[in-house]
């Protein structure tokens, strides 16, 4: 009798979470497993799944593929430039907005605008901004009589990756600002008042009291930014196509190119599964702290 009662209570609970849980398990976990399995074959194109090939794809990936190595270096470089600028800038802007200036909400709204844009739109705008002969940046420099500063931008092997990082900063920087702003607003006013009574300057107040309290916010921002760097596809694919040469090719675009342009499905799956492993590595620090806090 009691069991039936319990069953009657628990079954509706499961029905409520069944769609979410089953969709995620199939589309995320089973599919990732499928990628892992496919990466151990020689599957080419749609159709026949190919034969078992052991670790051949991974051996090729890590020892015989200079383009993959280049993609790995590019992805790391992109992360370093993008995150290295976004996090300090986000913190600084959040503090500036916290200083009690007029028009704070207008500034915030302006900074927030690009975050709503599709990467497809950003890619179109910035390809036009960076166009070397008649693009907006070089035109503006010429109008200002600063011709010496004009650059080849995305058409140069040295600058293409940096240009993509700049667009990423343009679009995502405000996310860091928002999280830090919320973090700074969350600092107890007593703390900063106490600091001021002790004679701390505004700079000292922020540097010694408020900034050190932003570690959780930093971890959140870092995790999200790393996640977005790893999966960056649209911007690279549409702005530079990974070029010139392979100077801006990243893991995500290379995976797509190998799979859908060269029909090397198994090889593409090995890059895809490698990216699954990286995704998990990225979130370990974040989730271990969140889980510790939730206990």
């Amino acid at each position: 009798m009691r069991d039936i009662y319990k069953l009657k209570r628990i079954v509706p609970v499961f029905i409520f979470i069944l769609p979410a849980v089953s969709l995620v398990i199939i589309f995320v976990y089973i599919f990732s497993g499928w990628s892992a399995w496919a990466s151990l074959t020689n599957w080419r194109g749609i159709g026949h799944f190919g034969e078992f090939a052991g670790l051949n794809n991974y051996i090729k990936l890590f020892t015989q593929d200079p383009i993959f190595k280049q993609c790995l270096i590019n992805t790391i470089e992109l992360a370093l430039v993008f995150i290295g600028i976004t996090i300090p800038l986000g913190l600084v802007i959040a503090i500036l907005l916290d200083l009690g200036i007029k028009g704070k909400s207008i500034f915030r709204a302006v900074y927030l605008l690009p975050l709503s844009f599709s990467f497809v739109v950003s890619a179109a705008i910035w390809t036009w901004m960076f166009a070397p002969t008649n693009g907006a940046i070089n035109t503006l420099l010429r109008i200002l009589n600063l011709d010496v500063l004009t650059q080849p931008w995305i058409t140069s092997t040295k600058q293409s990756l940096f240009c993509i990082a700049l667009v990423y900063i343009w679009q995502f920087q405000v996310f860091a600002t928002l999280v830090y702003y919320a973090g700074i607003s969350g600092v107890s006013p007593n703390l900063s008042e106490a600091a001021q009574i002790d004679g701390a300057s505004t700079f000292q107040k922020y540097w010694y009291i408020i900034v050190p309290l932003q570690k959780p916010a930093t971890l959140t921002v870092l995790t999200i930014l790393l996640m977005y760097t790893l999966r960056v596809f649209d911007l690279v694919w549409l702005m530079t196509g990974g070029g010139p040469g392979y100077s801006s090719e990243v893991l995500a675009t290379y995976m797509y190119r190998v799979t859908f342009n060269q029909n090397l499905f198994a090889y593409g799956a090995s890059i895809g599964f490698f990216m699954f492993v990286l995704s998990i590595l990225i979130i370990i620090p974040f989730f271990s702290t969140v889980m510790r806090r939730s206990k």
């Binding site: 609970v13 409520f16 979470i17 769609p19 979410a20 849980v21 969709l23 995620v24 589309f27 995320v28 089973i30 599919f31 990732s32 499928w34 990628s35 749609i46 802007i93 200083l99 200036i101 500034f107 709204a109 900074y111 605008l113 690009p114 709503s116 844009f117 599709s118 990467f119 497809v120 739109v121 890619a123 179109a124 705008i125 910035w126 390809t127 036009w128 901004m129 693009g135 907006a136 035109t139 109008i143 343009w170 928002l178 999280v179 919320a182 973090g183 959780p216 959140t220 999200i224 996640m227 999966r231 549409l238 995976m255 797509y256 859908f260 699954f276 995704s279 998990i280 989730f287 969140v290």
Partner: protein
């Protein structure tokens, strides 16, 4: 006196920095709108010089190429947003108000899905949709967006329902209400702000999405507008006004949402990121 002057100078420097940043954010948007309103002849003056006249020819040209994908995107985004928000509300509600043994682990398993790079699942996804006959269909894209929306909608709704006191639910449970009744009678009427936040979040993400649209559709009959706008580049060489017009058409709906519902969006971003 000196310190007053000092503070004044500091303020001015502060405003110069903030306005400089605003220029960095707005100049590309100015370029976008300015170019989209130019005639083809006017283009030789480049993107910086203001357009000589307000000309909508580039918009007509862009629309003639992307009107079908625009409809596709409206249908796909509409259905996927509504379905994923509803399913997320249901699961977020259970994870918040009806915890059971192992529910925390299950919750983390669900939300970790948000962090997995889509490239990890892309090949099986294409293959799977082909197998069940949904490759290159609206339903295929809707199903995909619903599935990959589950982690974030579940997380957002779980965090939103945490702010609704447990007492409300407890007293209803004592009155003999089951999970379904508590949901429809107590939780749903209180969920409007939650649906607004999650709905906007999903709408923006799905409307803007490119990779799934590119991989899972073929041709204008099904492709979303983002893919069609990206294709404007290949067909009309250097017709920057048409490309910019197409890009601006994609931006209009999300920009309107952003301008009018800014507070809800900020709330959504923070609800999803801070509490984990």
């Amino acid at each position: 006196m000196k310190s007053v002057k000092n503070i004044c100078i500091k303020r001015i420097i502060l405003y110069i920095i903030l306005i400089g940043l605003a220029f960095f954010y707005l100049f590309p948007i100015y370029t976008l709108i300015n170019t989209s309103l130019k005639t083809t002849q006017d283009l030789i003056w480049g993107p910086v010089v203001p357009t000589k006249q307000i000309y909508f020819g580039a918009y007509r040209e862009a629309l003639s190429r992307i009107h079908k994908p625009l409809v596709n995107s409206i249908v796909i985004t509409g259905f996927a947003t509504i379905i994923s928000s509803l399913l997320g509300a249901m699961s977020g509600y259970v994870f918040s108000k009806f915890p059971f043994r192992g529910s925390t682990i299950l919750f983390f398993i669900v939300i970790i899905g948000f962090y997995i790079a889509p490239q990890s699942i892309l090949i099986p996804l294409v293959r799977f949709l082909g197998m069940i006959g949904l490759y290159n269909t609206y339903s295929g894209l809707i199903l995909t967006h619903v599935a990959y929306g589950m982690p974030i909608t579940t997380l957002l709704f779980r965090n939103y329902y945490e702010s609704i006191p447990d007492d409300l639910v407890e007293s209803a449970k004592i009155d003999g209400c089951g999970v379904g009744e508590v949901f429809t009678k107590i939780i749903l009427p209180l969920s409007l702000p939650g649906f607004a936040v999650v709905g906007i979040f999903q709408f923006t993400n799905i409307w803007n999405e490119f990779l799934f649209g590119l991989t899972l559709t073929r041709g204008v009959a099904t492709q979303p507008v983002t893919v069609a706008v990206a294709n404007l580049k290949g067909t009309t060489f250097a017709a920057w006004n048409v490309q910019m017009a197409g890009a601006f058409i994609v931006v209009i709906p999300v920009m309107l949402v952003y301008i009018f519902l800014l507070k809800l969006i900020v709330k959504g971003l923070l609800l999803g990121s801070i509490k984990g």
